[in-house]
Symmetry: C2
Subunit: 207 residues, 2 copies
Amino acid sequence: MPRPRSLDPDRVAAAAVAIIDRDGLAGLTMRSAATELGLSTMALYRYVTDRDELELLVAEWVLRDLDPTPPDAGSWIEKIKTMAIRVRVEVGAHPRTVPLLIGNRQRSRPLLHWIEGVLVILTEAGFAGTARVVALRGLVGYLNGALLQEQLGPLGGAGTLTMATLPVADFPLLRETAGVARDLPAEEEFAGGLDIVLRGLTAIAPE
Amino acid sequence: MPRPRSLDPDRVAAAAVAIIDRDGLAGLTMRSAATELGLSTMALYRYVTDRDELELLVAEWVLRDLDPTPPDAGSWIEKIKTMAIRVRVEVGAHPRTVPLLIGNRQRSRPLLHWIEGVLVILTEAGFAGTARVVALRGLVGYLNGALLQEQLGPLGGAGTLTMATLPVADFPLLRETAGVARDLPAEEEFAGGLDIVLRGLTAIAPE
DNA sequence: ACCTGAACACCGTTCAAGT
DNA sequence: ACCTGAACACCGTTCAAGT
């Protein structure tokens, strides 16, 4: 007399994300996830084959609402910008999952659909062959780095405590820049960096 | 009758890096590092207070020869490019340490000196205030992302195996692009992305 | 089928003890 | 001072057993 499955992958992922939001990445263990779901530890293995798969579930769940459709108005640069900002918005709801998103970026369905959308835009803009690869990777590389940096602590954030103790004589510009960075909102920092990448893309665009 | 200290931080770091080079990041444990050094596990705690400090030692050791001095010939863009390539060269000798380098980027002395050098170049180019923060962070963001991506597996690399199994109909451009990416050397991919960022920097440069 | 609990081979780290 | 070994509180995961 088989019992009905008490959970679905969505609820498993949501529970894992709740733990990460609350206790950080280190707080997520097979045991804590099972407890959060009201299961014994081993029952969790009914739903995922191992921790790696649980992390993939998390990565896909966080980006489940990521819109992969290219905007239909605006220049191709504006479209790419919109696509990039969409990622940051979704990630912003669960920022501590960032390392998992990066680690699973090649297998995450929502992200793959988003990449396909970006490629549509790049292709319409005339990119092809290796130039298109470079453009995509440059954009994604910046996105990964910027989101990770924002999460690990921006120049103006916690890490600056260490920097405040550095000998001023050896790092005059670093000290000065860190001071300015403290007052620069993360969102503007992200937008500014994205703008650099987008202008760079414009510069190497075909035609 | 105190015994002489049998090791210095440099040898500890070198041993840890040797393990990472050989067995990957997961292979590095307090136990494996101690064994590599011919010590009992707990003797390692004479040299580092905990695992976190061991990882910092690794991060600093890998970049110990990173030249922080701005090149004196060439345009400011060429100088920045040289600085960026220097990082990739040093990292290239121990690529699997990348996550540790990123995690410790705010405390790693060699990296802080390198950043100071980059800031000298940016300042000479006329960058100041928030524009200088954005320029620095955009560059470092790309560097982090690109090196991490290169390490976790480029588009043309292992992860593409997963992609090869995707339904073609849903991801036509992704499939096509992955095929091209497979034949693009990592070095060219990095250089191409760096070029995008540098051109973007040019576009937002003062004067 | 679905769930449980004991157990195994790991971790990082504390502590008391040896030279 | 420097090093050691046992022990503790964790991990992920295997396995045999319950309903």
